[in-house]
Assembly symmetry: C2
DNA sequence: GCAAGATGAGTGAATGGTCACTCACTATCT
DNA sequence: AGATAGTGAGTGACCATTCACTCATCTTGC
């Protein structure tokens, strides 16, 4: 992404981002067509190449943007000092809303996971995963010290397992294959029962994290 | 896949499958090159098109094959009537071994999840996910009736959550992005500590499924 | 105030490369 | 001889990227 892209009018910028995100999410990275993106955004291909070095640069910039958006929503939830389970519930609700409203961004993320080039994958993963890894780990540690969460666990492993649940739910709401899978495993009408899903996931998470013999 | 492919010599067939699986897993569906696959397998492109209708057919056949192989390993573990946790442990070990030995097959599966065409995705998902969904659900139900697993849960939702853990571990061992993510969340040397991973995952699963006040 | 030049954003047709798929042909059976 | 299997050069479509150009705006010297 060149600095020029940061200087063009807001409206044009979001037109381009919307076009790119929807094309990449709809066709996948390889099949996405730069010329289509330019057309959809009502911008010349030449301009697009003034804003981004190449197709990959455009793709990665969009993925990064998408993860920023989700991260900021999560950060908002994580503020305040409620119990871990209250926060998990809020995160789950955020996931349900965000996955539906910004389906394309989640699909982009899934698309990213199939990329192989280590020069791309490593920095992108570090960028996108480190914040959540730290966030969950410190939350769990904090709750552990408060005696709410059991002490006999590897905090980072459990943070990983928790984030796995979040990821699979996001994909379940946003990506076609994972959607089908969700329906097959549970029920066809699972997407009309958001509260039920949250209820069950909470039961699962609660039991996994809770201290066995609660103090007093 | 034409019936001719079933009639050619075993050795040639596996040469083709190996070449196709490694190409699709290494480059992704779109970038995979049919001509390369033919070369690698020491077969003419023409022949390849006598065995498979088109690129997509070849891809789907390979994905299906890969999932069959894993399924048969899982089925073996699921025989016998041990406790759910013993089985989960065995499944986790199978995942660790299989994800490393057959990395390409797991990658293929991840590649499948980014496909969008509903005409492809729906039957493929049904084919691949239904058996595990039924397997886990019936196991959990059985353990519930035996009083080992808590009764206050939606069996199918918990089967889903359990399979999520399995999937994310598979991807964590086999796919570049998920590998990085695993390292970021836990530790760089996590891939040298298979027993530790199993231990922690079991702690998580055990607590999630276990009856709260054990009988007797 | 203004002409002459400089700057750089914006354009889209053209290029060069790639690749799925075909088909006319050959080889090998029965 | 007819059927069946195998071949691989060739075709046509597609698409990322480039580049020669336009045009509006700014700068400078008078």
């Amino acid at each position: 992404m060149t600095e020029l892209f940061g200087r063009i009018p807001e409206e044009k910028r979001s037109r381009i981002m919307e076009a790119a995100i929807s094309e990449f999410a709809g066709c996948g990275y390889e099949s996405a067509n730069i010329n289509h993106i330019a057309q959809k955004a009502r911008v010349s291909v030449g301009s697009l190449y003034k804003y981004f070095d190449n197709k990959q640069d455009l793709f990665l910039s969009m993925v990064q943007f998408g993860s920023q958006v989700l991260k900021s929503k999560f950060d908002e939830v994580m503020q305040g000092d409620e119990d871990i389970l209250v926060k998990v519930e809020k995160l789950l609700r955020t996931i349900q809303r965000h996955s539906r409203e910004q389906r394309s961004m989640i699909r982009l993320y899934n698309e990213m996971t199939t990329q192989c080039d280590p020069l791309i994958v490593k920095p992108a993963a570090t960028d996108m995963e480190t914040p959540s890894a730290e966030l969950y780990s410190s939350l769990i540690l904090q709750m552990q010290q408060a005696g709410v969460v059991r002490g006999d666990i590897d905090v980072r492993m459990f943070a990983f397992l928790l984030d796995n649940i979040f990821m699979m739910l996001q994909f379940g709401y946003a990506c076609d294959y994972y959607r089908e899978r969700f329906k097959i495993f549970v029920r066809d009408d699972i997407f009309q029962n958001d509260d039920y899903v949250i209820d069950q996931v909470l039961k699962f998470v609660k039991a996994a994290f809770e201290r066995r013999e609660p103090v007093e």
